[in-house]
Symmetry: C2
Subunit: 250 residues, 2 copies
DNA sequence: ATTACAATTTTGCCTAGTCAAAAAAGAAGG
DNA sequence: CCTTCTTTTTTGACTAGGCAAAATTGTAAT
């Protein structure tokens, strides 16, 4: 099956875009411009292959990309239909605090405030999602940016999943970074909320009591096993989260 | 080029997984288990095709999926290498408030508090990202869940992008939903923060002044054009955001 | 030793087909 | 009219190749 390859590789050398991307862009344009409104059924792969002058698989790849991005839905025999009122989902990047502070050009430090190994009590078992009496490591610490309090961290680590943590003292290195470097995780869940700082929190963070704070709770798993639970408390004027909707990397 | 199709379609009819997904799962397992640590180079496509007994393109699709999920990086000649310390990015679904409230089994209403058409002043131009004196629609309103205040909304709409909004009164329907149904957007950015309710906010939301609130600011674009900016203020005890790390839909 | 060039490997993208499964549309029967 | 069976369209998954581009590796010349 010898074949002269696609025209673009020899003739139109200027545009570096692969053919399926061109086709993708062309179809996407019709959708976002509103020319093909929600519910519209696009031509079949065969038909598109004829009009674009390429193999069906190339069309399939372009349509597949649109489907990955939730711009269209594809069903056998039913065809490909436009999917307009897009679900509002954004990609929220939750950075390592140290990296974030250093990136801002400020010195970073982690100060350990409390450390205890215990068998999980009811509350621990609940927040960490492990059986009661499972050995856990409970940590409280402060993230400092430029020597000033930046965030308060309350963490539980499942020692069954991370036995190496038992002997670690977390001097200098934050538990988050320590864990990240050691154990790969497969799932994570974040909950973001707000709270009024109570007296203890306000003291550690050097803010006035009752100041609004942003809280981020994170649970991480490796496949089915819970690894750690952490709650971070940021004074409202020191932190914002940015989430950006992003097409999946084309 | 006549060929008996893959074995799984005739012999192993039990497992519904396509071949490339099986291969994907098998490779992913090696990575998340740590057998192939970060930096490890996996076998070439040709080699994998031989070991798995399939065409190179099937392997390519499996590896492509891994690459889409950022588990590996692929470069010509350099091969495919494991990409372990995964960037912490989560998918945050920011729902339409109405849908969210109705889903919780509570009645929903939107109450308009203020509405003004004006030429963008300095502050408007800044938050909406348009030129000064561009016509904008400024709205303030309250989202009610079960008759009680749920969230306060402050919105600016670029009338150049959405001229139909000029004559809309937003009775019953919330501006967010109205916009979502009408104009497709291509980019969105969210900023999440916390604040202490001031007197006015506290009154509208029927909470005590100084209560911590979660704020979500959203900017939406259609390609390069700004469509709207909105700030939603939720009392801290009434709302949490949940972001889940998710592999991109396989 | 360093630089420049050539060879080789590996992925990226493509073609032109096949077989299979899903679902819609049409036909037939009650 | 409604149900059931059959046909047909359309996507899903795959094969077995091919050429091109990128990056590494090896080689030769300065």
């Amino acid at each position: 099956m010898t074949m002269s390859n696609r025209a673009s590789s020899s003739s139109a050398r200027a545009n570096a875009l692969p053919r399926y991307r061109e086709i993708y862009a062309s179809l996407r344009e019709k959708i976002v411009s509103g020319e093909w409104p929600a519910g519209h059924r696009l031509p079949s792969e065969h038909e598109l292959a004829r009009t674009f002058g390429c193999a069906r698989m190339t069309i399939s790849k372009a349509l597949g990309t649109l489907a990955d991005q939730r711009l269209v839905t594809r069903r056998r025999r039913a065809g490909t239909t436009v999917n307009m009122p897009r679900p509002q989902e954004s990609v929220l990047e939750i950075h390592d605090i140290e990296a974030e502070i250093v990136a801002a050009g400020v010195s970073y430090a982690y100060e350990s405030l409390a450390r205890q190994i215990r068998r999980a009590n009811g509350s621990d078992a609940n927040t960490l999602g492990v059986a009661s009496a499972t050995p856990v490591l409970a940590l409280t610490g402060l993230h400092l940016a430029g020597g000033r309090p930046h965030a308060l961290e309350e963490r539980l680590i499942n020692l069954q999943a991370v036995p190496e943590a038992r002997s670690e003292r977390f001097h200098g290195i934050s538990p988050g970074r320590w864990l990240l470097q050691r154990i790969p995780w497969t799932e994570a869940e974040h909950q973001i909320g707000a709270l009024n700082a109570d007296a203890a929190v306000a003291r550690w963070l050097a803010i006035r009591p009752h100041t609004a704070c942003l809280t981020i709770e994170r649970n991480t798993w490796r496949d089915a096993q819970r690894i750690t639970h952490v709650r971070l408390i940021y004074p409202c004027d020191q932190h914002r989260l940015v989430a950006r909707f992003r097409y999946r990397p084309l």
